[in-house]
């Protein structure tokens, strides 16, 4: 199963109202895009790490591992900014170090990491489907919400199957060598899709037996928003914005 999903159900903030967590994450996300990366980004990174690990109880190694993969992409992208295209005197183009490129790349990297920390906090503390009731209140079209619910359900069912199929392939040496590995993955994907469609057909029968007429309505858990927590979050965000502006100025 997916690490993030597991922790979303197992962290200490699981039962906090999603609006509280969303306000914190979205506000900080907005800040990370607007305040100067240095020192604002650093501050956000620190605050989110403390919140995720210290308050919500996510182990530090999990927090770091979630950041690692996207950070790799950010690094590759930032690497491109270290260079510039320069015209050769004899005509044509060459790559050269960009003046100020290091600073620009570092700024983007820091901003991106800060933003990632906000995203990772939200993902690690809030099960995805808990946003659905919010979306419903915001009057997002029911067609999309049902789709979100179903995709969530199917992705778990199909992940189990894909995992077992990979094990079966590995047992028959399907991953010995890169050529075999590609072929195995192709076969797996090709056989998984019809199975997904077959599952959809069977779920149709299963839901029909429960009176499905087109709407996937369910009773949602009722949670109270804590006004105090919300106020605290907003205060924190304003303070952080002011602080990073002051430090820079």
């Amino acid at each position: 199963m997916y690490t993030i999903d597991r922790w979303a159900y197992a962290n200490r903030w699981r039962c906090r109202h999603p609006v509280e967590k969303l306000t914190l994450a979205a506000g900080m996300l907005l800040l990370s895009l607007t305040v100067p990366p240095w020192p604002g980004g650093m501050l956000i990174l620190a605050v989110m790490a403390v919140t995720t690990v210290g308050l919500a109880g996510i182990p530090l190694r999990v927090h770091l591992r979630v950041l690692r993969v996207p950070a790799g992409f950010a690094l590759t992208g930032a690497a491109a900014m270290l260079f510039r295209i320069a015209a050769k005197p004899e005509g044509g183009w060459r790559l050269a170090l960009a003046p100020g490129g290091t600073a620009a790349a570092a700024a983007v990297l820091l901003r991106s990491l800060a933003a990632l920390a906000c995203l990772s906090f939200l993902a690690l503390t809030t099960p995805v489907v808990e946003f659905v009731p919010l979306f419903r209140r915001w009057r997002l079209p029911p067609a999309v919400l049902d789709l979100v619910l179903l995709v969530y359900r199917f992705l778990h069912v199909l992940t189990d199957r894909a995992r077992a199929a990979r094990t079966a392939q590995a047992s028959r040496l399907g991953h010995a060598g890169i050529r075999h590995a590609y072929r195995s993955l192709g076969l797996l994907a090709a056989s998984l899709f019809p199975r997904a469609l077959e599952r959809a057909r069977r779920l149709e029968h299963g839901l029909a037996a429960r009176g499905f007429q087109g709407d996937l309505h369910v009773l949602l858990p009722q949670r109270e928003i804590s006004i105090a927590a919300l106020a605290g979050i907003l205060l924190l965000e304003i303070a952080l914005g002011l602080l990073s502006a002051a430090l820079r100025g």
């Binding site: 996300l29 990370s32 491109a80 100020g100 933003a115 899709f193 959809a200 087109g214």
Partner: protein, 207 residues
């Protein structure tokens, strides 16, 4: 290929969200109508979205060591058409952001635009053109999937270049740079995605 959370400046993030919005709205309208007429479509699309997500979570062994993954865009487009694929792609991108920390919320619009708007429409055009010019189903499917993938990657590079123009080469120079950096993983990926999609279509044809 997704743009990570926080990588785009605020103005760009907002801009791409606005750019993607009309396509999403159009897709949702169409989808809602389709689902009303035939509620079972919901389950079919739910399963397809789940499949696309699982596919993206399966890491392809890659020569460069960085992980890349198939997107399922071409397959979805051939089966459901571009507007539906925009919505489905958007939902899958949301899950990738929130379950894998892959992509992001502020960059959701930019990623929807490249992967769920440009990709599907290019794939669709390639498929129709190929079919009309007499290409076989396999060749057309391959072209749709591979070109859809390439178009996504080119769009992403352009999005990055717009945000970070090269000090000397300007936008064009930056675009060339970003394409160069990602070509190593994205071109083989496009080809393998094309082949993969043909495999799946062959499977489906037997049903």
């Amino acid at each position: 290929m997704h743009i990570m959370e926080g990588f785009l400046p605020l103005a760009h993030a907002v801009g791409w969200n606005l750019a993607a919005a009309p396509f999403v709205v159009h897709g949702v309208r169409k989808l809602a109508r389709q689902m009303k007429e035939n509620p079972e479509t919901k389950l079919l699309l739910g399963a397809s979205g789940g499949f696309a997500f699982v596919l993206s979570a399966l890491k392809l062994p890659s020569v460069t060591g960085s992980s890349s993954h198939p997107t399922g865009t071409g397959l979805g487009t051939v089966l459901f058409g571009p507007p539906t694929m925009t919505v489905l792609g958007g939902v899958v991108l949301l899950f990738q952001a929130l379950l894998l920390a892959h992509g992001g919320l502020t960059t959701l619009g930019a990623n929807i635009f490249s992967m769920a708007v440009v990709g599907p429409w290019v794939a669709y055009a390639a498929y129709r053109l190929a079919r009309r010019s007499g290409a076989s189903l396999a060749v057309s499917t391959f072209l749709a999937a591979a070109l859809g993938d390439l178009a996504t990657y080119v769009t992403t590079s352009i999005q990055l270049a717009l945000a970070f123009p090269d000090p000397a080469g300007g936008f064009a120079g930056a675009a060339a740079k970003f394409m160069g950096v990602f070509a190593l993983t994205q071109v083989p990926l496009a080809i393998s995605e094309g082949l993969l999609t043909v495999l799946v279509m062959n499977w489906l044809a037997q049903y």
